[in-house]
């Protein structure tokens, strides 16, 4: 608590210097314009110190405000700008990107010009160019520094992966996501609720987040009420969703032939199918016994639908402002078999209702109260078999497995493939989830000008809770297994002879009555308290914004040891001289209950500085340059990540039993040490440095370049690599890991307005490269095996150098120590020159499968008289995928999996030795199915994420002020390095996936 007293003394000192001021009122007239020189109407203009002295610009951008001598004027406009000017500068106030008011979190709002921070910005306009139901999926390519990666999915499974500035640690890289300053899941709010999203990337601002700041912060700010007016937007958006790029699986006859081929290559003496059976698959004469079913077609249709209904109401006056969003989304999936049971379908469906109300109330002239409440109801519906179970079945069940239904109308069944994919979806009942979310936070802000000019205090409380509940109606089904035998002696090439009495139909299982079950699957609650004392003054040549910030957070999940308590105290100082030189200092003491007693707190100092070069006299003469700023920052951020809770304790628990006695089957149960204590457990610390330049020139060209270097130390790593085995126990950790990460972030854009014609184009590019400096790595026989010195997540595997042509080739090659090899198996490169290929022959291959090193996007927006076109492309590079999806790439193995047409066409055969993939096998084959270059692909892509044509129409009839209609395409185009299937869908799990989709949305917004 030392920091508190220092800060308060500093504040007291400052207050003594500046507490005498003369009072004298006068009227000031001013004009507000945007960067194109057009007047800005409806901007709020008020006295900096007295919020009740307020007025608005008229349609000419003009305002008149009575203020006292020495007071500044604050101007806020609807395009998120906020600027403070002295009364002498009011004749030509320009609002542009430099006056942009950036939400920095912790109640800090800074104009972009003054800020020393490195932030990425996403506005409501950006995310409303998407029609995604999840907010996360509206972020592709948005926000410089944010890497958003798509995951395959159904409505509740496709949360994207997000990273801020790539990866900088071996442990966890999840950024902290905040909604209105409180940690809340990214997708709990919908796009329509969001005003801005700030991606916070460098130390002075991140340090304030204490033990949660190291991985970057995504700060979502919801819409608030507006002054002096009201606006109602009603919108409807309908999406036609089409599945794309479903892999094609081989048909029945091909699969049967492939099984025989695989067995032949495995060296089996008996083949699974005889000629008559192959023929039966071919001619489809006995569908009960020799079926041919395209299961993917049976399970997945290729159409789905979504609807988004939204009403946003914003308005207010001087006393009360409000913003209310009512948003209803629903989705109907592309599952084909949708039997209904008791009125409930087995289709994948979801429905989400979000109701948000944000109120902003002036309780008195000096007291402001804000309350923000979100209630959300979320429902999912699926078949009794969960999607994670039946989706793999659709891919993995070969066409010959079983008929959907037998001739007697029973479900078809099989010995090997026990589950009938269609029956699993249609005949197992349904499951339904209900999730309830309540977010409530309220903020009280007290102006204390009377006590000390520029002093104010703020307190915020938040109480969030969430619970998800599943109910399930389950059923089982009975199925029929049919077998028959051919009379091989009597079979002729053109006719199949069946052995008499060889037809056998056996019924398994039973059609059960539905049973009902229910469970609470997850719940959490959070209590957050926040307090701030702010001293904000503008002096003759300088300005000071000093903040003392207190944070207190409690997050409680289901289960023991799942309560996370954190708190911090921080001082944040922002000091500017002559509106050109700015320095930020941020000093945080942050503690977490996940850290060891005695080491629970970490001190995180950070500084930042910026210099607006273009405001210097020597730059004034350079006409082309409108704005040039150089900024830099350096400091520490923290992370309280631990592998397990209470890691500093040695723990004991149930251990292996022992079987004493002569003939008693009961064992005596044992107790054992489970973990040794990790001593001196410290927070992970990231040292972040950033330098950047922001340039605007030629009245429209904007360039931002950020260079950063960060080094994470104290990373929790196992100490086993160095400790003698004689200790007899594992699992001790040390804060010894070090990872460095560096990168460049570039943003370039140009916009121009010529009469009715407006255009805007730009691009973002980021490149990140990290390196493990230390991870207590165990001894490695060869340098090339070392993970240290390589990026986090670097893939290690074997380098394939072709396929064994024949036995001679095998005999002349080093022995591969994985499984017995046959011709057509993968041949690996011998890296160390010994006589065998074993784990010492692994090398670093490709990049990683989690987070690409290069992430970029570019966009264009053209508008003429309300007609517009908007498009955004997004791509990644230096990214690798693992092609281990069962059936699609790893087919047939163990006689169980299906094979895709792609795999079949590119398999090794004695005739096709120049193939992409090894021979087919019905065995496990550890030689072929390990991490090696055959199964790695360049995952780079470039996608047209959004493309829309819209029309904006302004009118003034029936209370309607404007209409916007649009047709919008999502993911219509993709350029992939590996273009067989969409790797964003099929490389994320090895068991097939709900198809990713493209969609066409049509929608309309009516404003009142």
């Amino acid at each position: 608590m030392k920091a508190t007293s220092i800060i308060s003394k500093a504040l007291l000192g400052l207050s003594l210097c500046f507490c005498f001021e003369a009072m004298e009122a006068k009227d000031v007239v001013g004009f507000v314009k945007n960067k194109y020189g057009e007047p800005v109407a409806g901007a709020i203009v008020r006295s900096e110190n007295n919020a009740t002295k307020i007025t608005f610009t008229n349609k000419d951008g003009m305002f008149t405000l009575g203020i006292e001598n020495g007071e500044r004027i604050q101007i806020e406009s609807v395009d998120y700008s906020k600027i403070t000017v002295t009364p002498t500068d009011v004749n030509n106030i320009v609002l542009d990107k430099t006056t942009y008011a950036v939400q920095m979190g912790n109640g800090l709002i800074q104009s972009k010009k003054e800020s020393t921070a490195s932030v990425g910005l996403i506005t409501s306009d950006d995310i409303m160019k998407s029609s995604s139901m999840l907010l996360g999926n509206a972020l592709y390519g948005r926000g410089l520094g944010l890497t958003t990666l798509q995951n395959p999915g159904f409505p509740w499974g496709d949360n994207p992966s997000v990273f801020v500035r790539g990866r900088n640690t071996i442990t966890t890289n999840s950024p902290l996501v905040l909604v209105d300053g409180i940690e809340r899941p990214l997708n709990s709010v919908v796009r329509e609720e969001v005003e801005t999203i700030t991606i916070i990337k460098d130390a002075p601002t991140l340090a304030l987040y204490g033990m949660r700041g190291s991985n970057g912060v995504i700060l979502i700010t919801t819409k608030e009420g507006i002054f002096n007016g009201s606006q109602i937007d009603v919108s409807y958006d309908h999406g036609f969703i089409t599945a794309k790029e479903m892999p094609e699986m081989v048909d029945g006859p091909t699969y049967a032939k492939a099984v025989n081929e695989a067995q032949t290559l495995d060296g089996a003496s008996m083949l699974r199918f005889n000629d008559a059976e192959l023929k039966a698959f071919e001619n489809g004469q006995f569908p009960n016994y020799y079926p041919n079913v395209n299961w993917l077609d049976q399970i997945f249709g290729n159409k789905a639908y979504q609807n988004i209904y939204n009403i946003t109401m914003r308005g207010g006056g001087q006393k009360v402002r409000y913003a209310t969003v009512v948003n209803l989304q629903n989705y109907t999936g592309m599952i084909k078999p949708t039997n209904t049971l008791e009125g409930k379908s087995s289709q994948l469906m979801s429905s989400k209702l979000n109701v948000r109300t944000n109120l902003d109330i002036n309780l008195s002239k000096t007291t402001n109260f804000k309350i923000k409440v979100l209630g959300s109801l979320l429902e999912y519906n699926r078949s009794g078999t969960s999607e994670t179970d039946f989706i793999p079945l659709a891919y993995n069940t070969p066409a010959i497995a079983m008929p959907i239904n037998t001739s007697t109308g029973e479900w078809g069944g099989s010995d090997t493939w026990k589950k009938n994919p269609v029956a699993e979806v249609a005949a197992r009942g349904y499951g339904k989830s209900n999730a309830r979310t309540l977010y409530a936070d309220w903020t009280l802000k007290q102006d204390m000008n009377k006590l000390l000019k520029g002093l104010s205090a703020e307190a915020r409380f938040a109480f969030d809770s969430y619970a998800q509940y599943w109910e399930q109606v389950s059923q089982t089904y009975r199925y029929e297994r049919n077998t028959m035998k051919f009379d091989l002696a009597a079979t002729k090439p053109d006719s199949l002879a069946v052995l008499p009495n060889s037809y056998v139909a056996t019924i398994f299982g039973q059609n059960s009555i539905p049973t009902y079950s229910t469970q609470v699957s997850s719940q959490w609650r959070r209590l957050n308290a926040f307090g701030k004392i702010n001293y904000n003054r503008i002096f003759e040549n300088s300005k000071l914004d000093a903040n003392l910030i207190l944070q207190h957070d409690q997050y409680v999940q289901t289960g023991q040891h799942q309560t996370y308590n954190r708190q911090s105290i921080a001082a944040y100082l922002h000091y500017g001289i002559k509106d050109r030189y700015f320095v930020d200092g941020s000093f945080t003491m942050s503690g977490s209950n996940r850290l060891q007693p005695g080491h629970k707190f970490g001190y995180l100092p950070a500084i930042g500085a910026s210099w607006i070069v273009s405001d210097e006299n020597f730059m004034k003469s350079i006409e082309a340059v409108d704005y040039l700023k150089i900024r830099a920052s350096h400091g520490l951020t923290g992370s309280d990540y631990v592998t397990e809770v209470n890691l500093w304790e040695q723990t004991f628990g149930t251990g292996g039993s022992y079987y004493f006695g002569q003939d008693i089957s009961k064992s005596v149960s044992g107790l054992a040490e489970q973990r040794t204590a990790t001593e001196l457990l410290k927070p992970e610390i990231s040292t972040k440095s950033n330098v950047a330049m922001e340039l605007r020139m030629l009245k429209g060209l904007e360039l931002t370049v950020d260079l950063f270097y960060e080094k994470n130390s104290n990373i929790l790593v196992s100490s086993e690599g160095g400790i003698s085995s004689i200790i007899g126990v594992g699992n001790a950790y040390e804060n010894a890991g070090i990872v460095s990460n560096k990168g460049i972030e570039l943003s370039l854009s140009y916009d121009k307005k010529v009469g009715d014609f407006y255009y805007n184009a730009g691009a973002n590019f980021t490149f990140y490269k990290n390196k493990i400096i230390n991870r207590n790595e165990e001894f490695r026989q060869y340098d090339y095996l070392k993970r240290t010195g390589r990026p986090v997540g670097q893939i290690f595997g074997y380098q394939a150098i072709g396929f064994f042509a024949d036995q001679t080739d095998i005999d002349n090659s080093p022995t591969q120590m994985f499984s017995n090899v046959m011709p057509g198996d993968i041949k690996f490169k011998n890296q160390n020159g010994d006589e065998v290929i074993n784990s010492y022959d692994q090398v670093a291959l490709g990049y990683n499968t989690d987070c690409p090193e290069i992430y970029y996007s570019f966009f264009v927006n053209v508008e003429y008289k309300g007609f517009g076109l908007d498009a955004m492309f997004q791509g990644v590079g230096n990214y690798t995928s693992y092609l281990n999806t069962n059936s699609i790439f790893w087919g047939m193995r163990n006689s169980y999996y299906n094979i895709s047409q792609h795999l079949y066409d590119n398999r090794w055969t004695p005739e096709n030795q120049n193939s992409l993939y090894p021979r087919l096998t019905t065995l496990e084959n550890a030689n072929n199915y390990n991490t090696n270059t055959v199964w790695l692909a360049d995952a780079s892509y470039l996608k047209l994420r959004n493309c829309e044509i819209y029309y904006r129409y302004k009118l003034n009839k029936y209370g309607i002020t404007g209409i916007k209609t649009f047709v919008r395409g999502t993911d219509l185009l993709a350029f992939n390095k590996f273009n067989v299937v969409d790797l964003e869908t099929y490389s994320k799990s090895n068991s097939g996936a709900y198809p990713n989709s493209s969609s066409i949305n049509v929608g309309m917004t009516v404003s009142f």
Partner: protein
């Protein structure tokens, strides 16, 4: 100022209201008390050792780390050599499990320090010895403060913990030689750099622990304890383990005029980690003394002590009782991992292809009266006049191996090509050499669901060790008694009667003791260490054989019931066996295991074993 006070009050009120609303049950805390550890159950060392029941359960768990010679599950320890076993590295057995460690690494000669993995024959750390030792020390260090256990019981429990340490060291000693001597449990941040000790010091360390533990243990379990507590350590177990270690230590592997491996210079030799630095014949006398002491105490023990299992007239059953039955009168140390074996899982590999008896082993079993089996019958495929070579043999042959025509599963075993056991496969069969494994698995039905254990150490080994040590100290005449007692169990004549023409030199007697150990302890993992401690390079190098058995047909091609043709064939060569033209591939380095390469690079002195 009034206004300000009003604001402050308002803020304070707001805070209180918010706190009251938000937190109804839990206390609202700030500062350090807010950062208390999250609620939940924490079992600490105090929880365990402040409760008599918990503390003892900690020891029972330590028992579960003891070595078990059969695979039982797909875990690091439970799958041993990837379902193989090191019996198949001896000259008695051969593995036909294509993916076990023998076939992948040992037979092709690909073993080395870099190949040490969870599949090795005895991994330095993954086998769990150090873990068992830590558990035992934690128990020794903490049991003192446990309430509710009387001092006598504590002494006994502590002695049991010491035996857990001794057992682990005895296992590691026979695979690695000298070891770091651990004398307490360690904190991971304060692991002392305990260097490797010499072979002699390590031996003394183990023997001392055995002697120390024996003081506080009952010689045998009391009658009323046996049903529930059979399997706990006794003083006889401690003295028995001591004899096993003394015998290993006296053998020429370490106890010789020169190190076993001299091909290249080795720190292991110069540091005396795998060599004593000279030959000390008195070490054999130590074995003799230890055995004499053992039998003296055993004689006088009030419970009746231990004795060879000789009940009943069924000789096979006597022998089966001795190795198979828990709590039989000769079981000194019996370890357990489960109540009974599950035949459809890991255990099936053990009694299946992972070790198949070779012809040389089958020939070791004499005729039923004890006279040697004449293996010249294999010189010709047809035995003329026909005498069933598998009939009337040492009962232990049938109990150890499944041989052609012996009763099996209510019928006779068919190990001929195409028979129900052998099948037609040309390779990879559990009966590839013409015989299979019977021991432990029996005919599957008989043993199914029966309590299982590993006969870690039994009295017969003490008998045969005594015989061996007496012979080495020149008391061969006294030695006959101890070997003949073991033969008597299965109704074999004494050695002298069985081999009337043999002159019993020390060397000849030694051969017969080692053979007797092979016959008595087949699949009990004794032979490997016998081959190693006697540096029996010849046994490593010799090529091994099997039999293809075919049904005999008459001139018309009709099968003649009960008669077979036997084709002797040479098994595929193990790396270390001699080449077809007598080339040498063997190196004495194979006697001991290598330390895992990652371990030798850690921050303590663990010189690699010679040759690796």
């Amino acid at each position: 100022m009034k206004k300000f006070n009003y604001s402050i009050k308002k803020i304070a009120l707001f805070f209180i209201a918010a706190i009251t609303l938000a937190s109804c049950v839990d206390e609202f805390t700030i500062g350090d008390s807010h950062l208390q550890k999250p609620p939940g159950v924490d079992i600490t060392i105090d929880t365990v050792f402040n409760n008599a029941d918990f503390a003892q359960r900690f020891l029972w768990n330590a028992y579960s780390t003891l070595f078990y010679g059969m695979p039982w599950e797909w875990s690091t320890r439970g799958r041993a050599m990837n379902m193989g076993n090191f019996e198949a590295m001896t000259d008695n057995w051969q593995s036909y499990l294509s993916w076990d460690y023998n076939n992948r690494n040992i037979y092709p000669g690909k073993y080395g320090a870099t190949e040490e993995s969870m599949d090795s024959k005895y991994h330095y750390s993954l086998e769990g010895s150090w873990s068992g030792i830590r558990k035992a020390y934690l128990f020794l260090e903490n049991i003192g403060r446990t309430p509710g256990i009387d001092d006598a019981t504590k002494k006994r429990l502590k002695a049991e913990a010491k035996m857990i340490i001794a057992c682990h060291y005895s296992d590691m000693y026979r695979h690695f030689g000298g070891l770091p001597l651990v004398r307490s449990s360690y904190n991971p941040y304060d692991v002392p750099n305990i260097d490797r000790s010499t072979a002699k010091e390590t031996l003394k360390f183990i023997v001392d622990i055995c002697d120390d533990a024996a003081k506080d243990l009952p010689w045998a379990l009391s009658v009323d304890e046996r049903a529930t507590w059979d399997g706990r350590f006794t003083a006889a177990a401690a003295k028995g383990l001591k004899i096993r270690m003394l015998l290993f230590g006296a053998s020429p592997l370490f106890n010789d005029t020169e190190p076993y491996y001299t091909e290249t210079a080795s720190e292991s030799n110069t540091g005396f980690y795998t060599w004593y630095g000279g030959k000390d014949e008195s070490m054999w006398q130590d074995v003799v003394d230890a055995c004499s002491e053992f039998f003296a105490i055993n004689e006088l023990d009030a419970t009746g002590g231990y004795r060879l299992a000789m009940d009943g007239d069924d000789y096979r059953l006597r022998f089966r009782t001795a190795y198979f039955e828990r709590g039989n009168p000769e079981m000194l140390i019996s370890t357990r991992v489960e109540y009974s074996h599950s035949y459809d899982e890991a255990f099936n590999y053990f009694i299946g292809p992972s070790a198949v008896p070779v012809l040389e082993y089958l020939d070791l079993f004499p005729k039923a009266d004890g006279t040697p089996f004449d293996n010249s019958v294999w010189n010709d495929s047809v035995i003329d006049p026909y005498v069933d070579p598998w009939a009337n043999r040492d009962p232990r042959l049938y109990e150890t191996c499944i041989v052609n025509g012996m009763p099996y599963q209510d019928r006779t075993a068919e190990t001929w090509i195409g028979g129900r056991e052998r099948g037609i496969a040309m390779d990879w069969s559990s009966y590839f050499t013409g015989a299979g494994t019977y021991k432990f698995g029996l005919d599957k039905k008989l043993a199914s669901g029966k309590p299982a254990h590993w006969p870690y150490l039994r009295l017969a080994e003490i008998y045969l060790s005594f015989a061996e040590a007496l012979n080495e100290t020149g008391k061969t005449e006294e030695a006959f008694y101890w070997i003949d007692e073991v033969r008597k169990r299965v109704n074999l004549q004494g050695l002298k009667d069985s081999y009337p023409n043999v002159v019993w030199t020390k060397e000849r007697f030694r051969e017969e003791v080692l053979n007797e150990r092979s016959r008595e302890f087949g699949r009990e993992l004794v032979r490997w260490f016998d081959q190693v401690r006697w540096k029996r390079a010849g046994d490593f190098k010799k090529r091994l054989h099997g039999l293809r058995i075919e049904r005999m047909k008459d001139a018309n091609g009709n099968i003649v019931a009960g008669k077979y043709k036997h084709f002797k064939f040479t098994l595929s060569k193990r790396y270390w066996q001699d080449g077809d033209n007598g080339e040498n591939f063997f190196s004495p380095k194979w006697y001991l295991s290598a330390f895992p390469i990652t371990e030798t690079y850690k921050d303590y002195k663990l010189p690699q074993n010679p040759g690796w």
